[in-house]
């Protein structure tokens, strides 16, 4: 007990300020303290500065101003994760920090390799170490498996084990449940409570209020880089937290009238697909999308949704089955021909597939129409027309920038996504494939994008919505299909009464409709 009396907080960050090279002030005078043995939530909107704060703690970002105290002692030498680990701080990142081509055991011992004869790696010992730590914390994992073959849940376990084997006392988890199924989340929570009992301190970064309420002892709320308050979780309501996070009540409901579905615009018929490694990804996919309808595709990531989207948008070619867009099979059509038929596509990974970061906003806005009449002649583009259109879209979609000629890479994530959405929705599309349209986007932009999708539907477009966010799927969709292991396992023609729990059962493959139930033949 004497040890605990020596300091009140195991970790204290005082007056932390961080300014990024592009001038963005991510943290401003933040005070953050954590008591030993608690689970402390760090909550805020996307981009509020939670991850930045933790990255500074973990030595991944430089602290511009401020001090860090660990166990009551000032530390000012956390310049790398190595230093952080030395001080007993471990972090499980949102995007896993694993080497896919190495085995579980190799990943575990990376940096603390057991040696044989002084020079060689002792792989047997590595395996043994892995088994021991896995047993101690009751986490099941195969030391010999290549990490690339693990499920998301197992990868996360591995990440936690990596921290624990290094004797970490403070474990930072950055949005750990974002990629997990509800069941995996439950399992994770049990594990975390177990760690807490063993004396570990946990910092839980999340903006999922329900999870914070369920798991955490205290919460620090950050908005726009500043601390809005620190509370005991059981003394503050979800509504209060959300008000503090966004400064107003979150409008969870997207305003949306009833759908008026019309003709079929997109039809997918017995589609099969096997990838280049010979793994069967899609198996007999059938569905129809109608004009004036939002069709949600629910499913845990990696159940074939990405491949389905790539096939529908013409990126990947298919061999068995049919994809019919406006009565035309797209099999032998180029991406441009498919776009010309009225398809537009908001891709999942905007930096990789949605923009060319070095080029200007204007260049990015016209990427789907620069070759069209008005925008260019036979050889030359028409800069005035392009400027005109981009300025208008910048205004209409409230894109925050200094001019259309600014390189798009210098914008914030939310504004980049708005550029992508502006482009894809302004081409007068009849079919919109929106793949995680609001991922990593702040609440304001999310609301805006959702409202735009609904208004496109009302204007008569068919929208195919893929999202890992169940809330989004349920909010926006008129009908929902659920994908599990490359098959459609459920179809809800009217999803207005569907619950998250019900959907979860299908997503995890616990329930499955029969062929007749998922059939679109009425």
């Amino acid at each position: 007990m004497t040890e605990e009396n020596a300091y009140e907080n195991i970790l204290e960050m005082r007056n932390i300020t961080k300014i990024y090279p592009n001038g963005f002030m991510a943290n401003k005078n933040i005070n953050f303290s954590v008591r030993k043995g608690e689970i402390h939530a760090l909550s805020g909107e996307n981009g509020a500065g939670k991850t930045t704060l933790m990255k500074m703690l973990f030595g991944l970002e430089k602290i511009d101003q401020g001090e860090v105290y660990i166990k009551g002692e000032k530390v000012d030498n956390i310049n790398s994760p190595m230093d952080a680990i030395k001080h007993g701080i471990g972090m499980v990142h949102q995007h896993f920090m694993l080497v896919d081509k190495l085995t579980v055991a190799e990943n575990i011992v990376l940096g603390i390799e057991p040696r044989k004869f002084g020079v060689f790696t002792d792989l047997k010992k590595a395996v043994k170490m892995t088994q021991e730590v896995a047993q101690k914390y009751n986490l099941n994992i195969d030391p010999y498996e290549k990490v690339g073959n693990l499920s998301v849940g197992s990868k996360q376990k591995l990440e936690i084990l990596k921290a624990l084997i290094r004797g970490v006392e403070i474990l930072v988890l950055d949005e750990p449940t974002a990629v997990l199924t509800p069941q995996e989340t439950d399992e994770l929570f049990k594990e975390l409570i177990e760690f807490k009992k063993q004396g570990h301190t946990i910092i839980f970064i999340s903006h999922k209020l329900r999870e914070v309420k369920e798991l955490c002892d205290r919460i620090t709320i950050i908005r726009a880089g500043q601390v809005m308050g620190v509370y005991n979780v059981d003394e503050v309501s979800e509504q209060d937290i959300s008000r503090l996070m966004v400064g107003r009540d979150v409008i969870l409901k997207t305003e949306k009238g009833p759908a008026h579905p019309k003709d079929v615009v997109l039809e997918v018929d017995s589609l099969n697909y096997t990838n280049s490694e010979g793994v069967k990804i899609l198996n007999g996919i059938n569905f129809e999308l109608r004009a004036g309808q939002i069709m949600g595709i629910a499913g845990v990531e990696g159940n074939g949704q990405s491949e389905l989207i790539e096939i529908i948008t013409g990126v990947t070619k298919y061999n068995y089955g049919k994809v019919i867009l406006h009565n035309q099979e797209i099999k032998n059509k180029s991406i441009r021909q498919i776009r010309d038929l009225g398809m537009s596509h908001i891709p999942q990974d905007r930096m990789k597939r949605g923009i060319a970061a070095n080029c200007s906003i204007a260049d990015n806005i016209v990427s789907d129409r620069y070759q069209k009449k008005g925008f260019s002649g036979k050889f030359f583009i028409h800069p005035q027309k392009i400027a005109e259109v981009s300025d208008k879209l910048i205004q209409d979609f409230k894109i925050f920038c200094s001019s259309a000629l600014q390189p798009i890479g210098s914008l914030s994530g939310g504004n980049i996504q708005k550029v992508v959405v502006a482009r894809e929705l302004s081409s007068n599309p009849s079919v919109i494939v929106a793949d995680q349209p609001t991922r990593g986007v702040d609440v304001g932009a999310t609301e805006f994008i959702r409202a735009e999708l609904v208004s496109m539907r009302d204007a008569g477009a068919g929208v195919l919505l893929i999202s890992a966010d169940l809330n989004e799927i349920l909010e926006l969709s008129d009908s929902i299909i659920v994908m599990f292991e490359g098959e459609i396992v459920a179809y809800f023609p009217d999803s207005s009464t569907l619950t998250e729990e019900e959907l979860g059962l299908y997503m995890l493959g616990l329930k499955k409709m029969n062929a007749e139930q998922v059939s679109f033949q009425v």
């Binding site: 190595m82 680990i85 920090m97 896919d100 940096g111 060689f120 790696t121 290094r166 010979g278 061999n319």
Partner: protein
């Protein structure tokens, strides 16, 4: 035709192949380490060239080939570390940085040569010691295979140890595991406290030392003097061999054998009175063709899967 076959499989051809192979081995092993650590250094050509001259100077000044070799190794390490500094600390694009090294070496060696000898063409006026040649007793008496053990430079035998060293270092040691991890996913490595820069500096130093040995071999074994731009693309060919071998030790070595043979084959054709000009381009042509074949096979394999589904 018989003449071609006879020349092709003669003892001379075999030993000439092994001489070129020695050079390519040093180059491709250096490249393998760079690529494994995640940063390709196309300045390899320049490191080979400049350390070749440094070896001459060291050997000439001390009248000892060992000193020449050590100078080349230290030089190779130094340039490689500077490359590391530029790429990692100053965040210079690694390809531009490699080109700069090549440019620096190509002009710098001529400059240095002119300062030392007053000539720009070759180092003949500063005679230096070359590495000794060995014939392995007993093994060299084996009929047919004996040629593999007869009259090779010290560097040729050393290159075998270099292959073994690189293989074990990458596959079996903690350092190798770190280099692989850093090359495959630097974020992951740094998240467990591995100093990515430190590991890469180490890898570059080893790679630079090996390249330095390759340079030393150029002027103290393969040839016995320095001539301007004498590497003539051998560094790039080493990188091509490394690429072709999938950046593995064994693969790079096997590819090096192929390229070495292509080099010697062009010499054989020369003896058959073909146009010297075209023959000069032959090894490079073969390199392109093999890169193409590998790329084509990968492409077909991918396509085949796509058709199967």
């Amino acid at each position: 035709m018989n003449l071609i076959l006879d020349t092709l499989f003669s003892a001379n051809t075999v030993s000439a192949t092994i001489r070129v192979l020695t050079l390519l081995t040093y180059g491709s092993m250096a490249a393998v380490i760079n690529v494994t650590s995640g940063v390709n250094n196309i300045g390899l050509e320049g490191i080979l060239l400049s350390s070749a001259l440094i070896a001459v100077i060291g050997s000439w000044a001390a009248q000892s080939w060992v000193v020449g070799m050590l100078c080349a190794v230290v030089w190779g390490i130094a340039i490689s570390l500077i490359f590391g500094y530029l790429v990692m600390e100053l965040k210079t694009n690694n390809i531009l940085c490699g080109l700069a090294i090549n440019m620096f070496a190509s002009g710098g060696t001529v400059f240095l040569l002119s300062v030392l000898t007053g000539q720009k063409g070759s180092s003949i006026s500063i005679p230096h010691q070359v590495a000794p040649r060995f014939t392995i007793p007993l093994l060299s008496d084996i009929p047919v295979l004996g040629v593999l053990f007869t009259d090779y430079s010290f560097f040729t035998y050393l290159s075998l140890f270099v292959i073994l060293f690189v293989y074990i270092m990458i596959k079996k040691t903690p350092l190798g595991l770190k280099i692989r991890a850093v090359g495959l996913n630097p974020n992951s490595a740094s998240s467990v406290g591995i100093g990515v820069h430190k590991v890469r500096y180490t890898a570059f130093a080893i790679s630079g030392a090996i390249a330095g040995l390759g340079g030393a071999y150029l002027t103290m074994g393969y040839f016995s003097s320095f001539t301007r731009d004498m590497t003539a693309g051998i560094g790039f060919m080493s990188i091509a061999a490394c690429n072709m071998g999938g950046a593995t030790t064994v693969g790079a070595f096997l590819s090096s054998i192929l390229f070495a043979f292509a080099n010697v084959f062009s010499n054989v054709m020369q003896s058959l009175q073909m146009s010297v000009d075209l023959i000069n381009g032959f090894p490079y042509f073969i390199t392109i063709i093999t890169l193409f074949v590998i790329g084509f096979i990968n492409y077909q394999r991918k396509k085949k899967w796509e058709l199967k589904k």
